[in-house]
Assembly symmetry: C2
Homo-oligomer: 432 residues x 2
């Protein structure tokens, strides 16, 4: 990708161009001088002021002025800065990226701001638009590889055919509830950290139109955050569906993604409260399907239909989801690239829970990620309940990841049953 | 911003690129040169209109008409938005300003962001650099006039000669303590809401150098926020000298002025703890002189010497304070333009305190602003203590404002003495 500075420099190196640029500058100077002398009306002076400020913008854009570019803007990264961004952002990479901007004007300084201001983050960099991943690839690529183990040359594919899922119904005696979520973004519109008010509202317009068109079991209502009744708000709170304005010191606030709150944000859910969509929170869209019990296939089916039905309207609006054969579905945070899919069950495993280290180790071997009552590696909730999900996000299709989760859960159940019957599971664990 | 993609694509087209860029440049040059030659035969307005439409073409070509500019980005201002910005930002003014930027790249959207996100603010707009006041004058002017009653044609003058102060020593029996503060900014460097890391550090470098050179009673030490011992930090907290990272939902955070905290921020105080400077909090510099008792002249003298001594080093560095014959000393918030000076005393007026409405009314007539224990119009603190300061900030010199405060305080003391002796003050109040 070419930087403004590079181009400005390249332009200056070109003889024909030098004369062109010089003439351009002189032309402006000469042209401006003339009307200034003749200026008498207020509208003339305000037009001139307008022209001057637009020239400032052009100069800033060409990298021939302003915004502290002559100073060293490399961030102060301390030992408290634990993110992959902080680990990989060498001075050399920063200097390579510092004068670049995406077409929507998003810069590396904006991308890393939340990582600089929120030192404990694991990723530490966000995309302001789809192009951010390409424009800032020198830092994005190692962050993506560090998080996902996914190389710049790796390819991603999508498969959202729920009929391929096998053994997708897990007994309710084990599984309390099932939940599948992923993000989607609308191509051509900036992501929340880099968006403008108008683009954010355009995202909301397209998505709320799509959501309002849902039929059958997906039929429901869109609630804009800035225009709901007190009763609706209370109901959404009671259902744990409402998302709140991000507080100070959070990833989203420090990334600039909480600007203009609550403008352009909203929540959709179907009448049965088994399909939920967040609009313009961290991503353009977070799509969540959930229900009680262990019918993973049914939840996946609903999730797929929801995502696809929205897509039809998005396409009818002349738009499409952001998707790339390398990055998969593009989201704000690099950790959600690929499928961005998290398929999880709340599962009761009281016997396995008795050996916590072994349990977490098992999950890891099965391609699963487990969370206890207080996150990863914490003890289970009451009754030996864990939140277990697929671990990978990218490089595997949605079907593959859901199947991995299902297969892993069945294996955990097999081991739990063995333990219940007093059998040793050592051999089976070793064989994994 | 430059459409990297467009230009990259053009670059890949190679020969076409060169001729394309050349044609572009020559086209501009030729086109711009034309009106200069023919200026006498072209009307000013048609020349300007021609310039504007060709700038449109340049911007479109450079891709800087992006960043959601094709959408309506006018903010949603609700009845909760009480600021002067919200009051005066008509759609017409917004549309006039929306494509402008200062030389450092600061935009109207950045300037109003904190007013949009912090509805209760009184001002609701900040400057990202000195030029913001000029570039966005269509909204800045009515905000300034609304806050200060100061018209766009009004002139400001500075006078920092403490020898002109009369009756500057007020009895300690009345005055508990005296405090004078104002802000200063270094010309050519962006203000905290619009600054880059490098500019912020340059402000700190220049100011900490100046402060470290202070001698005599002003001699002291500069403590950078990111590099102080735990002991130093605790001492600064105990002295109430330390400023904290602005929390979420505050003016500064929502204005983008808390980015990169604590980088570039720091505190200076003299050994006697009677002269304090904050670096890169809301302003480049907040200068505060204070001491116990009512020797206002001495406090003002110290404050003036501190500001002037720092200025000498700023000038030796080839820089100067931001000052304008209309705006006075330029600060981040329009409410602090002019002198930005607040000269206050904590004063015990137990008799006057018995009639709170009359007291606040008196202060207003005397050009004073009074605060009780909980801000304006609240009851006094224990013993009838009020915080009383000058009310105006701009249109009067520092000497005039300090003298106004002193004269007003003497008048309040006269009335308090009358009340103590059981005399009616009605006639004197009426005569004000």
């Amino acid at each position: 990708m070419i930087t403004s500075i590079t181009i400005a420099a390249a332009l200056r190196r070109n003889t024909t161009l030098i004369s062109g640029v010089t003439a351009f500058s002189l032309g402006v100077a000469g042209g401006m001088a003339q009307p200034t002398v003749q200026a008498s009306s207020a509208s003339t002076s305000s037009t001139l002021s307008d022209l001057a400020s637009r020239l400032d913008a052009i100069e800033a854009d060409l990298g021939i002025s302003g915004n502290g570019r002559q100073y060293d803007n490399f961030p102060r990264l301390t030992p408290k800065h634990q993110s992959l961004m902080a680990k990989h952002l060498s001075r050399e990479i920063y200097d390579t990226l510092k004068d670049r901007a995406t077409a929507s004007g998003y810069t590396i300084n904006q991308a890393i701001q939340t990582g600089v201001d929120t030192p404990h983050l694991g990723v530490g960099i966000v995309a302001g638009d789809e192009q951010s991943y390409e424009t800032f690839k020198e830092i994005m690529d190692p962050v993506i590889e560090g998080w996902h183990g996914y190389k710049p040359t790796d390819k991603h594919h999508s498969d959202m055919d729920p009929s391929k899922i096998k053994n997708g119904v897990i007994p309710d005696s084990y599984v309390v509830s099932t939940r599948i979520r992923a993000g989607r973004s609308v191509r051509g519109l900036a992501l929340p950290p880099g968006t403008s008010r108008g683009e954010r509202r355009e995202v909301e317009r397209v998505l709320s139109k799509a959501l309002s068109n849902m039929t059958g079991d997906l039929r429901g209502k869109y609630y804009p955050l800035n225009n709901m009744t007190d009763q609706e708000e209370q109901q959404l709170i009671d259902d744990h569906f409402l998302f709140q304005k991000p507080g100070g010191g959070t990833l989203l606030t420090n990334a600039g993604a909480a600007r203009d709150w609550p403008d352009g944000r909203g929540i959709f859910h179907n009448d049965q409260k088994s399909f939920l969509v967040w609009v313009n929170e961290e991503d353009h869209m977070r799509v969540i399907a959930m229900q009680q019990g262990g019918n993973v296939k049914e939840v996946f089916d609903r999730w797929c239909r929801g995502v696809s039905n929205v897509e039809k309207v998005v396409k009818a609006e002349g738009r499409e989801y952001m998707f790339d054969s390398h990055l998969g579905f593009v989201c704000t945070c690099p950790s959600n690239l690929g499928t961005g899919l998290r398929a999880s069950v709340m599962i009761k495993l009281p016997e396995l829970a008795k050996n916590s280290d072994r349990f977490y180790d098992l999950c890891s071997k099965l391609g699963l990620q487990a969370r206890g009552s207080k996150g990863e590696h914490s003890p289970p909730g009451p009754g030996g309940v864990y939140d277990v999900s697929n671990k990978a996000r990218i490089g595997y299709s949605e079907v593959e990841l859901v199947q991995t989760m299902i297969d892993g859960i069945w294996k955990l159940i097999e081991l739990e049953e063995d333990l219940k019957q007093g059998k040793s599971i050592d051999a089976k664990v070793k064989a994994l």
